[in-house]
């Protein structure tokens, strides 16, 4: 016990000395607040990114993941928005969910509450149908939807999420109407689809890649085909310009000091070309697409506009 105290004392003294001598970020552990329970998709993403971020931030910094679960991540992200602006508290950030919550619920943050560091994951939407439905191409699906408006039931994970927005885009583009069945989470939606209880589903590609033989995957909402499922065509190839997905990234509270911000964004930038990082992410079913700094902020603004438009045209609650 005493030895521990001694080392601790020495260590603190050391930190204090070096701290005053250099006072350069980072000189103490960086906390990453995850708005979901340990073991959730976002949590696994954060914990997979953490060692790489430690490597690129340098100085032997350690990253500590703290789970603040509840209210679909809103409790955690609110805590991030209100934390100290020193770069020692970061948080995970989900799109379009975090922006949609500012519309459909009272939220203690908005788009200007954050410093946008990097989006790391872009999990594109896919449209899937059950084997029983017989709608095994986009063409058949749209023909059926036009012939019988509202007859096709669509399972998805929730209202006001990326899958809902994709359906909204599809409906406006093609002049069709579907019946939405919002499950709690995508796994129950996928199961209902496999059991044939709903005809169609909107999921994310990471959620269907293990189930390719059990369901029809009609298309992926990306500009180019995904490496997760190279045999699935994009919607663009099929004549419907649909690009949409679920994004996961990192933010810090707004008003970060410039040098800290630059250093953090530079560290995230290095993830772009790290093959080892990409391998670790695809092992945990996270399609990587690193977008940092201003580009991420612009992406956030775009998605907020989309959410606002959908909210205005067809409020979901």
């Amino acid at each position: 016990m005493q030895r521990i105290f001694k080392t601790l004392a020495v260590a603190t003294a050391f930190v204090a000395v070096t701290g005053t001598a250099y006072a350069e970020y980072p000189d103490k552990p960086v906390k990453v607040i995850v708005g979901y329970s340990a073991g959730g998709g976002t949590d696994v993403m954060a914990r997979t990114v953490a060692p790489f971020l430690e490597k690129y931030l340098g100085d032997g910094v350690s990253i500590v993941v703290k789970n603040v679960p509840g209210a679909s991540g809103q409790i955690g992200v609110t805590e991030v928005a209100n934390s100290d602006k020193d770069g020692y508290t970061l948080g995970t950030y989900n799109l379009p969910g975090m922006m949609a919550r500012t519309l459909d619920r009272k939220a203690d943050y908005d788009a200007s509450s954050f410093t946008y560091l990097a989006n790391v994951v872009n999990d594109p939407n896919v449209i899937v149908t059950s084997k029983k439905s017989g709608l095994d191409t986009m063409e058949k699906l749209l023909a059926e939807a036009k012939a019988n408006p509202l007859a096709i039931t669509v399972g998805m994970s929730s209202l006001g999420g990326d899958d809902h927005f994709l359906l909204n885009k599809l409906q406006t583009m093609t002049g069709t109407e579907f019946t939405i069945v919002p499950f709690r989470g995508s796994a129950p939606a996928r199961t209902a689809l496999m059991g044939g209880h709903v005809a169609m589903g909107i999921l994310n590609i990471s959620e269907v890649s293990a189930f390719k033989d059990e369901i029809n995957v009609l298309g992926v909402a990306l500009e180019e085909r995904s490496e997760f499922a190279p045999d699935v065509p994009t919607f663009k190839e099929q004549g419907v310009d649909l690009v949409n997905g679920s994004m996961r990234g990192f933010v810090a509270p707004a008003g970060l000091p410039d040098d800290v911000k630059t250093k953090l964004i530079a560290a995230f930038d290095k993830l772009k070309d790290d093959a080892e990082f990409k391998a670790a992410m695809s092992a945990t079913a996270n399609p990587v697409q690193v977008v940092t700094g201003d580009a991420f902020e612009a992406l956030n603004a775009d998605l907020l506009d989309l959410a606002k438009k959908v909210w205005k045209e067809s409020p979901w609650r």
């Binding site: 509840g70 459909d104 069945v181 919002p182």
Partner: protein, 502 residues
């Protein structure tokens, strides 16, 4: 597939993995036995910690804790009438009266043997029948699951106790608590009063600790002097090889309860408590002496404990094959699998057979280990703990309650909520409102509502969707039979009696 099963065995028996399992089972028994701490909480605390462990070590710990806690929950349920886990509520019905009679030791032995039996049966179901059983899960869409929930809710009728009005008040209260949070379809807030902490609903552990642990603690403090028939004092433990032959007459209950537990396990969302309640009811219905139930019938302990352990491995069948966990604990374990890059789905068995099948073996060995680790050793040491002076025991349990509730989400809000439920629970307990309907109402109320409304959306508002296929109709028929059957039986018996008199 079965060759993969054999091939994964040596890895499981590697000493580090085996040690993890043993530690897990022991830790699980302790966690389950501590009033206030639950398996859900223990595994959610463990998950981030397993990030740096070898997959089989991490999974062994989790499998061990899950199995151990499901039995451990029976210890305070029998000795203190405080169920250690939500699934042990039904164990209190007969376990506590047995303990009051001085047969607490036998009750715990029945519990450990039954738990092990349920766990082994469940592990075999997982190892040998996972793919075909997951097909069964697919048959259950929202409409069918709604009927399962209704079936479960109907079993509340048998838990009402003497006063029907009070029993129904308890049930309504439980169901009402289940609707707090975001609406299952639209996601708008119901009774959250702008508290984000309430948005995901009220966690069962918070309610359970408040209702079941706080009132007995206050009782412990209220009457500080040792009362003569304090349950923990006299366990009357005999060696297990001598008591075991007395348990063999439960074999029918063991098999029936194991099947019920496995069935409830493969249906997502219901969980161990519903399995335990249902199997208790079924066992009582089948019993030749239903009047002894609730007054210390060892078969009641056997029914409930078999079923709640039979639920464990079975709950992983839909979790591993479809990604939908059967219980709250399985949901957290799914996270633990994800951390190690194990994606649920049909590919899982092909891509990572060593780990998946190793995990299944761990469930089997965990269940067997229960008898050795949870037998006389654990029971006797816990009985000693319960001989602590009552005020001291009470104040230690208060600390454990706080830790257990705080650690679920890491927030004090839940602790205050638990205090509120504790106050309600104390009044209910003193005025003889039955508590089990509250627990069942909370578990099944929201579950039934969500699935009903999903089904209605699928049917575009047409209620006929609820009666459109064979599975639904079978479930409706079962429900009716369970509710109406006993009434008719009573009538017939009554009629015969009057005839006999005339």
């Amino acid at each position: 597939m079965y060759s993969d099963l054999i091939q994964s065995l040596p890895d499981v028996l590697a000493w580090a993995n085996l040690a993890a399992l043993v530690i897990g089972v022991l830790a699980g028994i302790i966690v389950g036995a501590m009033p206030g701490l639950s398996a859900t909480m223990a595994i959610s605390v463990l998950v981030p910690f397993t990030f740096g462990l070898e997959p089989l070590v991490a999974l062994g710990l989790m499998a061990g804790i899950y199995n151990g806690a499901m039995y451990g929950g029976a210890i305070p349920a029998v000795l203190l009438r405080i169920p250690g886990t939500p699934a042990a509520v039904a164990t209190t019905f007969d376990g506590y009266p047995m303990a009051q009679r001085g047969e607490g030791g036998f009750a715990l032995q029945v519990a450990v043997v039954s738990s092990a039996f349920g766990g082994v049966a469940s592990a075999f179901a997982l190892m040998l029948l996972a793919p075909p059983l997951s097909r069964v899960t697919l048959l259950f869409g929202p409409a069918e699951v709604f009927w399962v929930a209704v079936f479960g809710l109907c079993s509340i009728i048998f838990l009402l106790g003497g006063n029907v009005a009070k029993g129904l008040i308890s049930a309504c209260f439980g169901v009402f608590v289940s609707v707090v949070g975001s609406d299952p379809i639209f996601g708008n807030d119901r009774y959250t009063f702008d508290r984000l902490e309430l948005l995901d609903g009220i966690h069962i552990v918070i309610l359970l600790v408040g209702l079941y642990a706080l009132p007995p603690v206050i009782d412990l403090l209220e009457s500080p002097l040792k009362t003569e028939n304090s349950a923990g004092d006299h366990l009357g433990t005999e060696p297990i090889w001598r008591t075991f032959p007395r348990m063999l007459r439960f074999w029918k209950t063991w098999i029936r309860s194991a099947l019920i537990g496995i069935w409830i396990g493969i249906l997502p969302g219901a969980g161990g408590s519903m399995a335990a309640f249902m199997s208790y009811n079924e066992a009582r219905r089948a019993s030749k002496t239903p009047e002894t139930w609730g007054h210390g019938e060892p078969e009641g302990v056997a029914a409930s404990e078999t079923a709640n352990n039979a639920d464990t491995a079975a709950a992983l069948i839909p979790a591993l094959t479809l990604g939908i966990p059967g219980t709250a604990v399985a949901a957290i374990m799914l996270g633990g699998l994800l951390i190690h890059g194990l994606q649920p789905g049909p590919m899982l068995f092909r891509n990572n057979p060593d780990i998946v099948f190793g995990f299944m073996w761990q469930f089997l060995f965990g269940a067997i280990l229960l008898v050795f680790l949870g037998g006389s050793l654990a029971t006797n040491s816990f009985a000693k703990l319960l001989k602590l002076p009552r005020p001291l025991l009470g104040s230690v349990i208060i600390v454990l309650m706080l830790i257990g509730v705080y650690s679920i989400h890491g927030r004090m809000f839940d602790v205050y909520l638990m205090l509120g439920f504790g106050a309600i629970g104390y009044v209910m307990d003193k005025l003889k409102f039955p508590l089990p309907p509250v627990v069942l109402g909370l578990i099944l109320g929201g579950f039934a509502e969500e699935n009903l409304r999903l089904a209605l959306r699928i049917g575009r508002g047409d209620w006929i969707v609820l009666f459109q296929n064979v599975t639904s109709l079978v479930l409706v028929a079962l429900t009716v039979a369970v509710v109406v059957g006993p009434m008719i039986k009573k009538r017939i018996v009554k009629a015969r009696k009057t005839e006999g008199k005339v």
